[in-house]
Amino acid sequence: MPPHTPGDLDGVALQADPLSAAAAAGPTLAIEASGLVKHFGATRAVDGLDLRVPTGTVYGVLGPNGAGKTTAIRMLATLLRPDAGSARVFGLDIVSEADAVRSRVSLTGQFASVDEDLTGLENLVLLSRLWGYSRATARTRARALLEAFDLAAAAERQVKTYSGGMRRRLDLAASIVVTPELIFLDEPTTGLDPRSRNQVWDIIRALVAEGATVLLTTQYLDEADHLADRIAVIDHGRVIAEGSSSQLKSSVGSGALHVRLFDPAQRPFAEPLLARALNAPVRLEADPAALSATVSDAQRVTQALSELSRAGVALATFALGQPSLDEVFLALTGHPAEADIDDGPASTEEAAA
């Protein structure tokens, strides 16, 4: 198993102090951005963004629709020129040394950046040629990539006939024709089914295992939780919180108790009982048998549970979990992360632009 797996999140939190460790290792920063700004007319898409991404890690940028994730990534990948602020990628300035940056990074954009009219094979041969492979080597390289990304059977088909998951994989394959040291992934799993999402996650883990640094943006809270060593939460073009997943969670509270009753009819009776025992407000979930509460003191939980059973309330399940990143987002921004992830409004805005 590669080192960066979901189970490692606590391990990351245990490191003495990741922030100062990264700061001390100055030259090993893959990305160092300070005060990046990009305006589109009156829209402040990115509004003073600071980022420090250590080499060899997966860095998650988490934010709702319109937070400025894509704009930030496009600036870092040298596609957009910042209006103010500066950023260095492996110590190279993204404006004055853009060409040198380009030879060390690759970008997988939010919307597939492959040629729909060409076949999968042609797309990869094209990119291999552009990276400087000879005609013959380019074909070998393209075939090998198609094989590795499980696309060999569709090699001769036009990309417009590919499914969303296949397109994503081709897009990722196109990003690693020459192994990049830093790879930008803009919402790599948006719109994918769970199986395709797992495939993409595996690809990302393989990239990191080979030593690449990954910066990925996502609206999926659990994606950042699973993949990223460190997470920056951005809203309105600024970083509003930064740290490991566990650090972010612990900044909000110790956790939440989720309880599910056998008999939904007992809920009205269980609610005040639980609230009193926990000394905290109890939320009624959409599920008619479920209740939850934010817990400040874990000691009270055992007490509360035994009180429920003494009162004759039978529990189907109960769980004491860390707060979800959803709750983190709510606590940090005062508004919940957007629930709809098919980014309808954002894509129409982009199309109109």
């Binding site: 496009r74 040629d115 009219d117 042609e122 990304f149 020459v178 393989a206």
Partner: protein, 277 residues
């Protein structure tokens, strides 16, 4: 997870693909342009309908103008054809250059250009490639028209060689003119607006010329306009080459105008391309 083994296989496959990639040397501008040229040709292969304009237009224009104006303007269609074919050839290809802008406008609005722009390659190649592929389309249009012309009785005085040189001059001019549409294609937001603007420029340019009528027959203010119209100069040069009395002044002028188009609109296009968000 139920399928641990296949997923680990997948990871291994990806890791192998990654570790085997040694970095090749960076390709030069010519090689990069040719790669983009190849891409444009592949697109023609996959969407051959794109060739409709370069085959249908020449046939329609030649038949229409020869038989519509031939009798009235020159007394006989065959006599008229000798004069008008080089002109219609220039007019048709100039008209077709407009599609370069439209195609490019459509192309760069797609995500794949983000990838091209994030590669460490010679940037203009992204545009030079498609323009070179368009030269192939223009050649096709010229061939269609000349073959049809020969069938209708066109007999170039300088034979095939003269005609080939005339077409070569036309291709140089068309390639250079394409940069204008390329720039507009990048700047303008909508395809329709681009089409309208192109028409607005091309119609006067092609019709206020010596393609169909002798400029001497025009009112003097119009005649002086025709004298400085690049298309008119091109047509005079082509007629001379086709019929064996090359007009050196006009040929030089066409080459100079072409160089000027590239020198002015090439950098402007690249600037617009860089700025495009």
């Amino acid at each position: 997870m139920t399928a641990i083994t296949p997923r680990q296989d997948a990871q291994t496959a990806v890791r192998t693909a990654l570790s085997t990639s040694a970095r090749p040397a960076r390709p030069g501008p010519v090689s990069t342009s040719l790669t983009f040229w190849w891409r444009a040709l592949l697109k023609i292969k996959h969407v051959p309908e794109q060739l409709f304009d370069v085959t249908a237009f020449p046939i329609m224009f030649l038949l229409l103008f020869t038989y519509l104006f031939g009798g009235a303007l020159a007394g006989s269609t065959t006599a008229y054809l000798q004069e008008v074919l080089p002109g219609i050839l220039a007019l048709t290809v100039a008209m077709i250059t407009m599609y370069t802008g439209v195609t490019l406008n459509r192309d760069i609005s797609k995500g794949v250009h983000d990838r091209f722009r994030s590669l460490p390659v010679w940037r203009p190649a992204t545009l030079v490639g498609p323009l070179l592929a368009d030269v192939v389309r223009y050649s096709l249009a010229a061939t269609v028209m000349i073959v049809l012309g020969l069938a209708l009785g066109f007999r170039p005085g300088a034979g095939l060689t003269g005609m080939v040189v005339a077409v070569a001059l036309l291709l140089v001019f068309a390639f250079s003119l394409s940069w204008v549409w390329t720039m507009l294609g990048i700047i303008m937001r909508s395809e329709n607006a681009l089409m309208s603007l192109s028409m607005l420029i091309l119609f006067p340019l092609t019709f206020v010329s010596n393609v169909f009528v002798r400029p001497e027959t025009l009112p003097s203010w119009l005649e002086s306009l025709v004298a400085v119209n690049p298309i008119a100069i091109l047509v005079t040069a082509m007629r001379g080459l086709a019929h064996g009395h090359p007009a050196t002044g006009e040929i030089t002028a066409v080459l100079a105008i072409s160089a000027a188009f590239v020198a002015v609109f090439g950098p402007l296009t690249m600037l617009a391309y860089r700025r495009k968000t």
